[in-house]
Symmetry: C2
Subunit: 320 residues, 2 copies
């Protein structure tokens, strides 16, 4: 392809459920955005084929529009070596994924390939185009099935000594508490993730057969939507469950704030968007728990970019 | 003083108990080192007078030796604004100290003055001359009356957005556990500091009147020396107490390791020196608790510099 065509960046954001992919302009505007189910059960090979096909589809689109794909970026769950592009650990949700080399897998497409952990991609997108713009020190936290984190320190994505920094979901908040998949006990994500909220609601449903919770089930099951709906209608049990989750999340975040003294904590994920009062609850509790000197410059804010932040961050991995 | 005399750096290391002060050569060698009781009960003015007198004494010595004091550095407990030199918070052990401006107080001596938190001075000394030399990311932790911390990130002392980073002693390890002076509950230093160890021993003494612990009292009181002595002699209660402390310390450190993925954790303080097996206990438990990907490059080591590290770090604040 002639180099004088306008460049465009290709982003692939692989999750446990979806693969989001698209083309992003050099100023961060999403030109094309697509989504498909991630073929996580097809094994490493099947999933690599899916990534290559998605990239191929975007190359065709770029070609039709007379754009030049200047580079590819991939955000993946797990610990990813940003240098080599290899996924080397911490990826329980995609069986067989550890060991894949993402740079090599997408290499045949003939443009530079970058790969990083998905939470780092989110942090990078927030740094370049979102609420972390012009910030020096930011803790980005995503509340979902688990709790993920990405760090911006000294104005750059901070990856740590072995590309594993940001694992705030595995902060011990309850000493020798609930067993976590990571092997430790009492991890934050066992108490303050969306999965933990659902589990707490299920336990409550079991304990109180005639509970008001029953009116908010979806197909007989506890759901985040049901809990949020009930909390909005000021149902005591829902307000209480969410309140407990906010308090323990704040305890974990306060520990990280005391250690890092960041200027911003950015909270993201579907639940944060679905129930805005949650952010205020967490903020109030952080004010109570963190060391006062660590709060002087701190702002606690919602993620500024939507669902496609991971894709945008991936597309810009080659930048910083 | 003529500028052609060889330069020397003046360090003042203020603690809750001692003031250590001395002269350090540009290659980090301590030329003069002195110690006196810190006049913490004399109020802000009295303590400032003591700092000025100590500095004056060192200026005289330098002059006699035909050396030129090129700068002064002060390490102080509490949150210290590295820019302005003001102590602005988090200093419960020295009443009236918050509000003092250390740069201004020592300014009349006519050389550049730098001031920082004492844990940051320790981290800087380790970075320049100790076990953190040539490291990019290090967590320095001091186990004493409390638990202090200093961070080295991207090869530099990391101070955070409001000069408060490194407060690992206030990591929540026991959700809603023991009340801490910081206002929060369940802080690491309530469980794993030397004070916590002594308190645990006192509680055990109370609970078991005829306990073997009695043989190890000093003037009828529980002491660190007594506990260490008993542990060395394999007394069950002492081994158990120290073991419990190691486990909970490791839980707190593992949280920080998961977040920062440092290449080194440096543990310092009198207790670490007095009972070397403690470090191994902590290390073993960190291996069990931290996320595997965060352990790939991690080394857990004893502080490389002795009692005068704080003084040396203070003397080099002007460097980095």
């Amino acid at each position: 392809m002639p180099a004088n065509k306008p460049p465009v960046f290709l982003g692939l954001d692989l999750g446990g459920t979806d693969l989001k992919y698209g083309l992003v302009s050099p100023n961060g505007r999403i030109l094309i955005s697509k989504k498909s189910w991630a073929q996580t059960k097809e094994g490493q090979k099947g999933l690599v084929v899916q990534l290559c096909e998605a990239a191929g589809e975007l190359f065709s689109i770029a070609s039709q529009r007379k754009l030049r794909v200047a580079r590819i970026g991939i955000g993946s769950p797990g610990a990813v070596n940003f240098g080599t592009g290899k996924v080397f650990g911490n990826c329980p949700n995609i069986p067989g994924w550890v060991g894949v080399n993402l740079k090599k897998s997408l290499g045949p497409l003939g443009v530079p390939v970058y790969a990083d952990n998905d939470a780092n991609c989110l942090a990078l997108a927030e740094l370049l185009f979102g609420t972390a713009k012009n910030c020096r020190s930011v803790l980005c936290v995503t509340i979902g099935t688990g709790i993920g984190g990405g760090l911006i320190l000294e104005g750059k994505v901070y990856r740590g000594s072995s590309f594993s920094a940001g694992e705030i979901g595995h902060t011990t908040v309850v000493f020798n508490g609930k067993k976590c998949a990571c092997g430790n006990r009492g991890c934050l994500e066992k108490y303050a993730s969306v999965s933990a909220l659902l589990e707490a609601a299920r336990e409550r449903l079991k304990a109180e057969k005639e509970s008001g919770l029953k009116r908010f089930l979806e197909n007989g099951k506890v759901s985040v939507r049901g809990i949020v709906h009930a909390a909005r209608r000021k149902e005591g049990w829902a307000v209480e469950l969410i309140g407990e989750q906010a308090v323990i999340l704040a305890a974990g975040l306060a520990s990280a704030i005391n250690l890092l003294n960041p200027e911003k904590v950015i909270l993201g994920g579907g639940f944060i968007d679905a129930y805005p009062p949650f952010l205020k609850l967490v903020e109030k509790e952080i004010q109570r728990r963190a060391v006062p000197a660590a709060l002087l410059k701190l702002k606690i804010v919602k993620a500024g970019l939507g669902n496609e932040a991971g894709l945008v961050g991936a597309a810009f991995l080659g930048n910083k």
